[in-house]
Subunit: 250 residues, 2 copies
């Protein structure tokens, strides 16, 4: 059941068949969740690690007055947080964007995997590093980039992440995010997202219709966004490992 996760892990480490099998067979509750439902709520006690198998989800935080900031998107293969053995409660919520299939790994299941397989542990750490890289990039977007640049950057990010899990076909992908949600992601109003999107269409950068986003000019989009995909570490295992530096320890 953990196929998308394994594919993701293989960006960071090489897994043995035994490790793959352990991941596939780890105890997990599979669950289908409707679109726009909370999977985990802020302050809720953490029971296990949540893994997205299909669909889009997002992390978000609400301010007391109702303003919402989306903190990141979770695509197939993404996990809420492997460090569940430390945290007792969530400090943000996770909700589905589209209809989603998730797996919930009980705490002990994760602990079992990590204590038996150092390479799996290592892959988990990699995930946290990449997530942090993404968060940093979002900080740069929200702090420095204009509306057009932000939107372009987000599209580039999702394009690359989805491509890495073979969810891009004909330069396009399923994109269930509403303009209101994009607004909460990019720190913009839905109206302004709409107008920015129209600019992009006018410039033949993207086509967006019927929940499908097609990238018409990735080059131009990347330039506008000042996008560099390195931080996503999608280069397949080899490229991601240090070169010319022998290291043994864990």
């Amino acid at each position: 059941m953990a196929l998308p996760l394994i594919r993701k892990f293989e960006n960071y480490v090489q897994l043995s068949d035994i490790e793959k099998r352990s991941l596939m067979q780890a105890e997990a509750h599979i669950q289908d969740v409707e679109a726009r439902c909370d999977i985990i709520r802020e302050r809720q006690e953490i029971e296990g690690a949540t893994l997205v198998l299909e669909g889009f989800a997002c992390r978000y935080r609400l301010l007391p007055d109702g303003r919402r900031q989306i903190l990141g998107y979770m695509l197939p293969g993404d996990m809420c947080d492997p460090r569940i053995f430390l945290l007792d409660r969530m400090d943000h919520s996770i909700a589905t964007i589209s209809r989603t299939k998730i797996a919930i790994w009980p705490r002990k299941s994760v602990l079992g995997l990590t204590s038996l397989h150092p390479r799996i542990t290592r892959a988990f750490w990699w995930c946290t590093l990449v997530d942090e890289g993404i968060a940093r990039e979002w900080l740069v977007s929200l702090g420095q980039r204009t509306a057009l640049e932000r939107l372009a950057h987000l599209i580039c990010e999702l394009y690359h992440r989805l491509k890495a899990i073979d969810l891009v076909t004909a330069n396009g992908f399923d994109f269930p995010v509403t303009q209101a949600e994009l607004g909460d992601t990019l720190g913009l109003s839905a109206v302004h997202v709409n107008r920015t999107l129209q600019d992009m269409r006018r410039e033949r950068l993207v086509r967006l219709a019927g929940r499908r986003l097609t990238v018409l000019n990735l080059e131009a989009l990347s330039t506008i966004a000042m996008f560099n995909p390195d931080y996503l570490r999608l280069g397949r295992t080899r490229a991601a490992r240090p070169v010319g530096r022998r290291e043994k320890a864990e």
Copy 2:
């Protein structure tokens, strides 16, 4: 030499004397750095873990056209990243704000500590969790909060973090950050930071003069910022541990 770090760790875990001694005696290069110098540059190879002992530093990222976003502040006891054994290169830079004393732990020194002392490892993970919590809070600020709210939130964050390491006296602290740097932190222009700061002075929220920031009304500041310090996990070990949940493993 690692005193501020030990104090910080004790927010998250209880350390034995042996562990404290190991931290104190770990091989480290102590170094003084001028104000406004890069300690680590983007793309630079990582040699070890950098620990701030005295002074202010910050992480930042530059866009090709010169725009800069500050990603976080590093105060005494803060480390650049304990996960250096994974990463080969930095994807952002670290610079001093004030004159700073730092310690650089060689890779093997960190690996030694973590392999011998699981509680130290655990404390390291806690640090990464808190850093991520801070980053999330910044995302909310940049995405949703107004200039006044952002500034108020940042001041609250720094107040609490500095208080936890006894660097707050008479409700004030040394604050070497320029208004231009605040602008790069909050996604605002320096001019607008200046005006916002004046609003705060007018409202008797803070006093800021001669590199010293005094919080005159923390209550009001926290309300404006919608600030809740929980995410900093400064509650001293007991409060930070889960209640009513026995757990043994790592």
